[in-house]
């Protein structure tokens, strides 16, 4: 019996070794061609270039979601444009709404330039002092930043008695039920502040755990308004809610520009900003404590929605090559075409020094508004 088994085992072993050798060959094969094509300035120093190396993009969310998809869209083009054409892979490390991966990149990840983090970055979250945060944003090295569109707010057409013709009609609604994901999410915070600032009465129902579930709840009429990401708007809200004719976009929450103004985001030129709608309802620009808090949230979000970050202290030469690769990738027409096919639009590229500058400036925010938001989140 034992002998028979070991015979079988031996053949399995042979096959597995053969498979491994093949895998190994394909790896070293890449190394060889890259070495021939590129410079051969020695790979032992860890600098020179990325030939034969593997660049790992850590993503703090599950596969198939928005962040993961964006990272995977990027990886082929990073490989193409980073000197030495490294093999680029995406690793998912989900947990604590992305905080776990940020902590990992901050504390554990190697600094040889072969590990980077692709993440939606909130400047507000660290200020709110959520437990479990161990990173400091301004210590990271920014490889590149992308804006993927403003947060939007939607309402069911039947939320308003009679005709729903324009966003201003929401002021006639007397039974708004606002759905959310969790109290601390921007998708909850901004729509709540917006409705409170307008002085509208509403019921707040949070806990839907994902944008998919929120969309389901508005289909079943359990809620009749919600805040969503722009990518969700383009990829699913339009086709499942707006075109079938029961939901309309109310407004978007715009980015602040360099002059401190809030013009319509280039992503959504046809949809009014919250401030526009406010003015046409109230006849004056927004003001008051809810507005101050909303303005802070808007301001802190006006950096970049997704960033590629290198761990603090990353080897400067490697960092320079990563930045070069990123900068070339996001203007590559092939990448633009592929992203546009998947998302329906292309990102806005944000300059690195602007991001780094905003990281440092966070120290000067108005702490009174931060405290206000903290309280507001706990209250529900």
């Amino acid at each position: 019996m034992v002998n028979k088994i070991s015979l079988k085992l031996r053949s399995i072993l042979l096959v597995s070794i053969a498979a491994l050798v093949l895998l190994g060959c394909s790896d070293s094969g890449e190394t060889d061609t890259a070495a021939v094509e590129g410079s051969n300035q020695g790979s032992q120093e860890g600098g020179a270039d990325f030939s034969g190396k593997t660049l790992t993009i850590v993503v703090g969310f599950n596969p198939g979601g928005g962040t993961d998809t964006s990272a995977r869209l990027l990886n082929k083009y990073l490989s193409k444009h980073i000197p030495g054409n490294p093999n680029v892979i995406v690793q998912n490390m989900s947990g604590a709404a992305g905080i776990r991966a940020l902590n990992y990149a901050y504390e554990v990840a190697r600094t040889d330039g072969e590990t980077v983090l692709f993440a939606p970055i909130s400047l507000l979250v660290p200020l709110l002092g959520e437990p479990g945060i161990r990173y400091e944003l301004d210590k990271f090295d920014v490889v590149g930043g992308l804006r993927s569109g403003p947060i939007m707010q939607f309402a069911r057409l039947d939320a308003v008695a009679g005709e729903f013709n324009s966003s201003e009609d929401i002021s006639r609604a007397d039974n708004i039920v606002l759905g959310g994901i969790r109290t601390s999410s921007s998708l909850d915070l901004m729509p709540r502040l917006a409705l409170d600032s307008l002085g509208l009465d509403y019921r707040y129902v949070t806990g839907y755990s994902s944008e998919n579930t929120v969309r389901n709840a508005i289909q079943t009429s359990e809620i009749n308004s919600f805040g969503g990401t722009f990518s969700g708007y383009r990829s699913a809200v339009v086709s499942t809610l707006i075109e079938p004719g029961f939901v309309a976009p109310l407004w978007h929450f715009p980015y602040r520009n360099a002059d401190g103004d809030y013009p319509r985001a280039s992503f959504a030129p046809d949809i009014p900003t919250y401030m526009e709608v406010y003015e046409s309802i109230k006849g004056e620009p927004p003001s008051g404590e809810y507005w101050e808090a909303l303005k802070l949230a808007l301001d802190l979000r006006s950096v970049a929605d997704n960033m590629l970050l290198a761990p603090p202290g990353t080897d400067p030469e490697a960092l320079a090559m990563l930045r070069e690769g990123f900068a070339k990738a996001v203007v590559d027409p092939e990448m633009i075409a592929e992203v546009t096919k998947v998302l329906g639009y292309f990102y806005e590229v944000v300059p690195n020094d602007y991001i780094q500058q905003r990281f440092t400036e966070t120290a000067n925010v108005d702490m009174a508004s931060v405290e206000f938001i903290k309280q507001y989140i706990v209250e529900e």
């Binding site: 072993l13 491994l20 979601g65």
Partner: protein
């Protein structure tokens, strides 16, 4: 409509689409067989390949995999008593006893046949009932989802063990465990005791593997007997064809269960998680002779297997047509839809209908392909049941530990797995059913959300008057009534209650667990008192319900314990006898060696520690020749490198050796081979 259906079929049959479908099927079979892998892992591996593929081929690849993991996961449910994926839990109840009787091939034959039937039936029924789908889905809001969860748990709690109070108490415990860490909406982490790992909650897969796999492995290792308790020569009527015939004989049951699977499976949130239990419950309730359920009734295999494959089709349409995925796997499919350039929405049922039908066909064809492949090989797979335990244990240990690691990549995953192994051992020995805990853990956060949302959306108890809520409540009441009547009858007739896991429990193991659970429920309630209302509501409710159920279990155990004391003449004798029955000493040694392996791993890393453990186990515990041990360990090592490292790209534990090794190795040997 008919021509669209045909065009869809032709799209799938094209080359290379059909080739991708075949690849997906092969990969799906592999994922289902290995405990700890499953649909989600499959999506992670396959998703990157779909970038740039044409939609039909991309979905042939994904759906080929997606459709069949719940066919091949039957193998580990039947052979090992370990759910291959959480969709195949109910299959264990009768599948494993069949394997122990030497009828593994028959169970597999029946399971594969009905799986194929369920999968094809689900896909086609769905295609024909497209107009019905929107109203069905839209009538399920938070209150209905919550009640559906309660129904699922009532089914498991009452069917998976001999004792109703124990079953329900375990379900409450599972729900309570799901409240560890942040709730989805709340701002305060619960029951994490300052441990960062727990802030995110208890992960599913390490719990399942620890709870089910470790106790079974212990048994195999300690007694070194094969899975089948009877010799292969003595078994009669246990062949694959007998299983196929069984499936044909019970075709009407399969039809009913596949229907349950299709329609329940499309409900967003938790439909897909509970169908196997609803189907099993239906099989038990509709059977005239219920006496063999839990001891190896083939109907207990047919029902859940027909249902769980049917859900795969069921969850597809809501995902593509309304952007409402019914499960995490379906949520990833939704992501894939965008990647290939399609958008969910009604157009998927109008202008893109041929693509949608090609997906339906992919599922149907994948199911048939998988069943053919598995039926052809089932004869060999079933032989594993007659192998000595020592040859099986090491490989499964590797799969269990790597599977536990896959989800989170944290050493906490291994600690949870080992802890649940100990709990599972006591539960098994003490006749506490384990399946309710797992289902409750799956449903926990969905049910809590639905419960809280219901409270926020509806005033007072008006939600209880919603028609579907009333219907589900009635089904729950009937289920409980049937079960309680059954228990009372058995008591009156003096027969032993021998359904499911409640077969050979000893109060010596059960009573300490009862008391432990009672302590957990009451302290959980006390700890929660100061939390904000939305954060504490659910745990407090569970703490109270759990304590009541456990109280009944304690009283019951107390009586049995007194009886045991009387027959065994004294406390000490009773304890000695029970621990001897459970081979407590050897079990501790087994657990001890696993803990030692984990400690060694902290220094040398997983890629070396697991193969080393395997070698040592075979040599010193199994007494095999050095050559066998070496070859086995090398195979394990090769699998870890080849699959988990090169294909999965997972995060390995940063062991001490990792920082040292690169300096020691010559440049031409890559260090990923070892750490």
């Amino acid at each position: 409509m008919f021509s669209d259906l045909l065009t869809g079929l032709l799209l799938v049959l094209q080359w290379p689409t059909i080739g991708f479908l075949f690849l997906g099927v092969l990969f799906g079979i592999f994922l289902g067989i290995i405990p700890g892998l499953g649909v989600i892992i499959g999506m992670v591996v396959l998703l990157p390949f779909t970038f740039g593929m044409d939609p039909v081929s991309a979905f042939a690849l994904l759906l080929g995999m997606y459709a069949v993991t719940s066919t091949s996961d039957t193998i580990s449910s039947v052979m090992l008593g370990v759910p291959g994926t959480s969709a195949s839990q109910a299959t264990i109840l009768d599948g494993y006893p069949l394997a122990q009787k030497g009828h593994a091939a028959r169970a597999l034959g029946a399971a594969f046949t009905t799986s194929a039937f369920g999968g094809v039936f689900g896909a086609l029924v769905l295609a024909l009932s497209l107009p019905l789908i929107r109203p069905v889905i839209q009538s399920f809001s938070s209150p209905e989802i919550f009640m559906l969860g309660v129904l699922g748990l009532t089914m498991v709690g009452s069917l998976s063990g001999g004792s109703l109070s124990k079953g329900l108490a375990v379900a409450a415990l599972g729900l309570l465990m799901s409240t560890v860490g942040y709730s989805d909406s709340g701002a305060i982490p619960r029951y994490y005791f300052g441990v960062g790992y727990l802030i995110d909650g208890l992960p599913m897969i390490p719990v399942v593997l620890g709870l089910f796999a470790l106790p079974e492995l212990m048994e195999l290792a300690i007694r070194n007997r094969s899975i089948s308790r009877t010799d292969s020569a003595e078994v009669e009527g246990g062949g694959i064809l007998d299983g196929v015939k069984d499936a044909a004989r019970h075709w009407w049951l399969a039809v009913r269960c596949a229907t349950i699977g299709t329609y329940i499976g499309m409900l967003p949130g938790l439909g897909a998680s509970i169908v196997d239990w609803l189907a099993y419950g239906h099989a038990v309730q509709s059977a005239k002779d219920k006496s063999q359920f839990g001891k190896g009734d083939i109907r207990g295999v047919i029902a859940p297997e027909a249902a769980n494959n049917a859900t795969r089709g069921g969850s597809l349409i809501p995902t593509v047509a309304f952007g409402v995925p019914g499960s995490l796997g379906a949520a990833i499919l939704l992501g894939a839809l965008l990647i290939v350039g399609l958008k969910p929405g009604p157009e998927m049922l109008t202008t893109e209908i041929t693509t949608t039908f090609s997906m339906v066909w992919s599922i149907a064809i994948a199911n048939m392909l998988a069943t053919m492949l598995l039926l052809l090989t089932a004869r060999h797979v079933a032989k594993l049941a007659f192998l000595p335990g020592h040859m099986i244990v090491p490989a499964i240990i590797m799969f269990v530990f790597m599977g536990a690691w896959l989800g989170g990549g944290d050493i906490g995953d291994w600690v949870v797995c080992l802890t649940m192994g100990v709990v599972g051992f006591f539960m098994k020995r003490g006749a506490w059913p384990r399946p309710p805990l797992v289902l409750a853990l799956v449903l926990g956060s969905i049910m809590e959300n639905a419960y809280l949302l219901t409270g926020r959306v509806y005033d007072g108890f008006e939600w209880l008057q919603r028609p579907i809520v009333v219907v589900i409540s009635l089904v729950i009441a009937v289920t409980l009534f049937v079960v309680i009547r059954g228990i009372l009858r058995q008591k009156r007739d003096g027969a032993n209650i021998t359904q499911g896991e409640g077969v050979s429990g000893s109060p010596v193991f059960s009573l300490p667990l009862s008391i432990l659970f009672l302590v957990i429920f009451s302290s959980a309630t006390v700890l929660a008192t100061d939390w904000p209302n939305s954060v504490k509501q659910f745990p407090v409710l569970l703490g109270i319900c759990g304590a009541i159920f456990t109280f009944f279990a304690v009283v019951n155990d107390g009586f049995t314990f007194r009886k045991t004391l009387a027959t065994e003449a004294g406390f000490r004798n009773a304890v000695t006898r029970a621990s001897k029955d459970a081979v407590f000493g050897k079990a501790s040694l087994f657990m001890g060696s696993l803990i030692l392996m984990v400690l060694v791993m902290l220094i040398i890393g997983q890629k070396l520690a697991l193969p080393l453990f395997i070698g040592f186990y075979l040599k010193f515990w199994g007494g095999y020749r050095l050559r066998t041990c070496l070859i086995y360990s090398l195979c394990a090592w090769a699998f870890m490198i080849g699959f988990y490292d090169r294909v999965m790209h997972l995060f390995w534990y940063p062991a001490w050796l990792e920082s040292q090794l690169p300096a020691l190795l010559p440049g031409w040997i890559p260090s990923w081979l070892f750490v």
